[in-house]
Structures are given as structure tokens and as C-alpha cells.
Point group: C2
Amino acid sequence: MALIVQKYGGSSVANVERIKNVALNIAKNRTNNKIVVVVSALGDTTDELISLAKQINPKPSSREMDMLLATGEQVSIALLAMALDAINVPVISFTGPQVGIITDNVHTKARIKEIKTNRIDTVLSENKVVIVAGFQGKTPENEITTLGRGGSDTTAVALAAALGADLCEIYTDVEGVYTADPRIVTNASKLKRISYDEMLELASLGAKVLHPRSVELAKLYNVPLCVRSSFINKEGTLVVENTLMEKEVVVTGIAHDLNVAKIGLFDVPDQPGIASIIFNALAKANINIDMIIQSAMRNNINDIAFTIPKDDLDKALEIANNVAKEIDISEIVFDDDVAKISIVGAGMISSPGVAAKMFNILARENINIEMISTSEIKVSCIIKTKDVSKAVQVLHEGFELDKITDQQQNKTLA
Amino acid sequence: MALIVQKYGGSSVANVERIKNVALNIAKNRTNNKIVVVVSALGDTTDELISLAKQINPKPSSREMDMLLATGEQVSIALLAMALDAINVPVISFTGPQVGIITDNVHTKARIKEIKTNRIDTVLSENKVVIVAGFQGKTPENEITTLGRGGSDTTAVALAAALGADLCEIYTDVEGVYTADPRIVTNASKLKRISYDEMLELASLGAKVLHPRSVELAKLYNVPLCVRSSFINKEGTLVVENTLMEKEVVVTGIAHDLNVAKIGLFDVPDQPGIASIIFNALAKANINIDMIIQSAMRNNINDIAFTIPKDDLDKALEIANNVAKEIDISEIVFDDDVAKISIVGAGMISSPGVAAKMFNILARENINIEMISTSEIKVSCIIKTKDVSKAVQVLHEGFELDKITDQQQNKTLA
């Protein structure tokens, strides 16, 4: 009997009918497996709660925000437990704090430090389905925390790791991981398998299908992940340790991310530690910096540009302006009309010229590249938002991702 | 500096504007007092959650119901904390489980066993307003429980008792305790003071203004209660230890309760212990039995009639039918078209003939009395639902409650 952790996202439980369908799917899987279910808040609940909060306080404290948002998943677990009970599946639900998901104290963006599994172990041994609220936990001081957007994926993988589960299934509104966003590239291919590293890059680069932290965690604890549709019973995409795909296919997928803003600092004094002052101040506010470019020094003065999530722009500009008063920065500019486009593939490591090919394809279409960043298995470029669709399409075609065959994919199954 | 516990009901926080008004009221009171706030779920949230649950499972488990319903108050505390923060009042919110409200394990109808006040004490000493979710707690085994309808009043009084508060203010949508329901008796008078015992009877008898358990608790721990409007800044009704009012006024108020159903058991064998079999079975299901009448024995056979809350009728009939199979009961009948009407007043103890006067007044209007029950300070009658309005009006007039003057009330302030 295998132990499977299943995660159902907000769209999978958006209404009464869908909750009942999820219950049926769990019941079906339960005949051969022990099941732990992680569930998100119903549909748009989280957004609605945030909007309500902002009507009351434009800058709500992050502690109270966690207090508010944690209710969303608590509603889901109770309703899903009732739906299972209605079809005679023995079940019990737990909130994150209740079941012992211990996090640090960074409210609204907490990280899981530990999961106490004794309560779940006991209930599983009683042959019950366990439902756990995603996205939430508590600090050792008993404060309620949330893990940030997409945190339910992280809860699911962390639980799978802590429980030593055989598989972690992520049920969502798409059928799996595609070579590019199918809404932009109509002939995008669904991947049968992808490596943790590739998925990590894709997720980090804006493919919405999995939260990057969850992939990181899955890789760290070697938890086999499966991304599949909660609406259609079809094979999804398996995310596992390195596959052989890189030998067949250089580029596995194209990702794009519209949640990007660029900040430029002009005439930053070229003294040791200046960059660390700026980036420490942003880190303290829990703002993730993505790309950083420091221009060549002229006259002991630098220009620095960096990108951040668009949501953090106001906060980042406020911080940058405060820092600018302390050190001698002449001008701060920003651009929130940019996006990031990336190619990802473990095969790049052994294939020189992939980045150059990407730049050529974009140049041919007159798409201007504003910033570039590379890793061993990806190349990312910042471009104007208006160019995103075109860029995804021409890169998908240029790297022949529409021609990934089932045969190629099957070959990769070692 | 006094310590005041303030409780705001669901209608007081039904929307963003009202939440902001509550915040302003707290801020005003805070200048001279330490404030602990207990708050209910927003408006009709609890009813909406129940309706959602029933769509998924007509008989949801009470544990999962508590999991679901507890979210309502958690939303309220977070939003109210945000509203106070927005006007620069230092504040922190706590769920019931978080702040150490420990209950028994009777889900959906739990009773408070203990309140750990150390966390609240610490925060009060930091000069912060403390907001606590009403209606909820946890068992020693960390299970989330709710206290049943009106439980937020109970939370407030229990907190006031545990903290040794100087006053417990219950803010609601009426201006205080009236001699009868003002929607039925237009010239009903607002009482300035009422004793715990009288309030307890009124609350138990259907006056919705306070939950009877909260009054019981207030009496037990001698917590001064004040019932007042959250919309209009007017003196409310003070509920305290025996006032002198009984010397002036025999009957203090008329209560009525529509949430009543009557069950009749015919031809119950007259053997010792039979009644206890029936009523134990009902008690096990947490059904509160109100009046019980056992008819005079004839041929070793009894008829038993009793009343219960209308909400519990289906469950009670099911239990009664099961019991009927074991012991020899010939027929079970019920009537859910009845109501209870009561007169309350500490002055009755020393005034004989009050009950007789009540029966006379009702008889004069051809209102049939189906069951009667009395205590030292009240007389209750079961009548047909259609007669309720008329009965309240004629009793209010008959006992001259419209003539309670401010002078009489002021005299009672010892």
C-alpha cells in the first residue's frame, strides 16, 4: 500500500460540485493507497479576503493578514472532509498549526522549519484519509503564519517529504507541464517527464504550474512529483531526478513571467559595500531580487539595475529612495512594463551556442533585450511586455519544441 | 485604569463601515481603560457557512462543522485589528484556541473549562488592545470547538471573569433589555437595571439579547454586565446582583420563544426508571429538555409530554422512536406550532397570585394554555404560535409594564 500526498488547488475546489468531484477522486485512489490531501482556499477566496482587508486598512499588518488569510484553507478542509464523509470515506481534517507545521516568523512569506508527523501517522494507521490545510503553519510561539502565494504546493511536498510518501500529486487546472504556455503557443507539447532542475527553472521563470519552492523542496528530499488535471483523468507530467531527456532535447521549455519590474539606480558611488547596503535593505523587507546588472565603472561611479516582482515595486522604490538619501545616488528610475522570457533545458550544459541562438531568434523579430541572466540550464532575457507573446512563439518554433515526439519522450524513461 | 471586556455581535461588524465604527468606539474607550474585545462573525457569515456545509453533506460531522464555523470569527478579529491599526491603536488579535480558551469536547456545543490568561495579561501590560475571537476554543487535545449559538457572549463573560475585569459590555443591535420585545409591544420600556436571576430567566425564555449561559456565568463570577447599542451612544441596561427593583415592580419583563416544539409520549409503562431511559437518551444527544409534564397515572400507564428547541425536533423524534421500540410506548406525537410565553420578576417570590393573574389575562383573550412551568421568579406557558403577539401585548398591559417610570427605576439604584 503506497502513501500518496495529493494537493488540490483553489480552482479544483471552487464550488460545491467540484468539491464533491475531488472527494470522488480521493475515494477512488484510496482503495489501494493511504491518502493525505492538501487543499487550497476555495476559488478566489484569498483574493477576496485581501480586497476586504485593503478596504479597511491600505497597509494591513502582515501578522493580521495571516490571521485573515489562514481562514480560507480552513473552510476548504472542513468542506472537503464533509464531502468525503457524505460518501462514507473515514476522514479527518487539520489546520496547519493544529497538525504541527512549524514555520519561521516571517508573516505572509513564512518558510517551513519542521513538520511533526505523529498526529498524521496515528490517523493514517486508523485507515482514515487525512486532510491538511495548505499554505499555513505556526511559529514555535503559536503565531499563525502563511507561506505566501503558491504555498499549498510547498505544504504538499513538505508533508510528502516528512511522511516519506511514495508520490506527491499536484492536481491543478492544467493537464501537466508544457513546453510553453498553451494559451500562447497552440501547439505546445505536454512533457511526460521533466527533471527537478528544469522544473525549478521553469517554475522560477514564471510557469505557473508549480511553486518554485515546492520544486526545490521536492528535489532536496527527492520526492517524486506528478502534475495533473483535477478535471480530466489523464496522465500528467512526472517531475523526478535527472531524466535522460537532455541527451535528446536541448531546450525543454519556454517560460515567461509578467510579474516583473525593473529598477535602475544611476550614479551609485563605486565604494565597497554600497551594493550590499541597497540589497540588504531590500532583503530585510523580504523582497526577492532576481537579475542584477552593474554597468562598467566610469569615473568611480556605477549604474545598477535589478528586477523584482511587480507586486513589490512600491515597497522597493520607497526603500531605494531612503537608501538614496544616505548614499549619493543621483537618480532612481523604474519600468514596470517589462517581462522575463526564458529558455530552459538540462541539455544546455553540453550544448554551446544555445544562448546565442536565442538572441538571434529575438533579434530577427526586432525584440529588444534589456537584461540577460544565465545559469547552467537556462537563459533569461528582460523584454518589453508587448513583445512577450511573439517571443514565446518564435522561440518555441526556433527550438523545435512543437516537434518533441512521444517517441522522444518515451526514450527518456530510463 | 479599569479593565473592560467589550463584546460586539455580528450585526455590529456586518460591513466595512461598521467595523470602522467599532474601532472608533474602542479607541474612545481606550483612553481611560484597558480594553479586551470579543467579536462575533461578520453579519450572516455563520448562517452562510452552515448552508454551504449542508449543500455538501446534509448531516455534517460536528467536528468538521466546528472547523468550518470557527473561521467566521477569525475573519472578524483580523479585520477589526486592521481597522484599529489604521487609526494607530496598538492591537493584537487571537483566536480562541490560540489564546488558551480550553473547552470540553462536545463539538458545536462546547463548554469553557478554563482560560489561560498569561498571553492576554502580557499584551495588556504592553498597553495594546486585545481582540479575541468569540464562540470558539479548543479541547486539551487541540481540537477546535465552538460554543454554540450566542457563544460569543459566553466568551466575553468568561474572559471578564478570568481576567477579573471591572465590566463586561455587550454591544448589540438593541439599546438594552426591554420589558417585552419592542417589535411586538411598541411601548415596551428599557430597563436601567435588572438582576442576574431575572436576566437569566428572560434570556432562557427567549429574549434574544443575551445568551443564558453568559448570564449564568456572569452571576457565578459576579461580573457586572452592560447591554447597550453599538449604533447609538446611549446608556444601556446594567445586569448586576439583586437590585431593589423587586420591591417596586413584581413583573420585570415578558419573554417569548418561538424555538419550541412539543413531543408527547402516550401510554408509557409506569415503571421506575422509564423516564430516565428516555431523558438520558436525549441528554446523550445534547438535546436540552425544557418543560416536562407527566400526567396522572391510570392503570399503571402514564402520558409524558416535554418541550425541546425546535431545531432538535428531528433528532429527538428519532431517539424517541428508538426508545419506544425498547419500552412499550403506544404512540409518539409532536407539535412544532407552539411557543413559550413567560413573565419574569424577582418580585414574584413575595407576591402570591401572580401566576393566577397571568392565566386570567390569557383566558380573557381565549388563549389556550397547553403546558405550564414555574420557578420562584417566572411563570411560563406553552401556547399556540398564532397567539404569541396577542399574549405578549395583553400581559405587558395587564402587568402595567408600560408604566414602569424612570423614577421607579432610579429608586432601585441602591
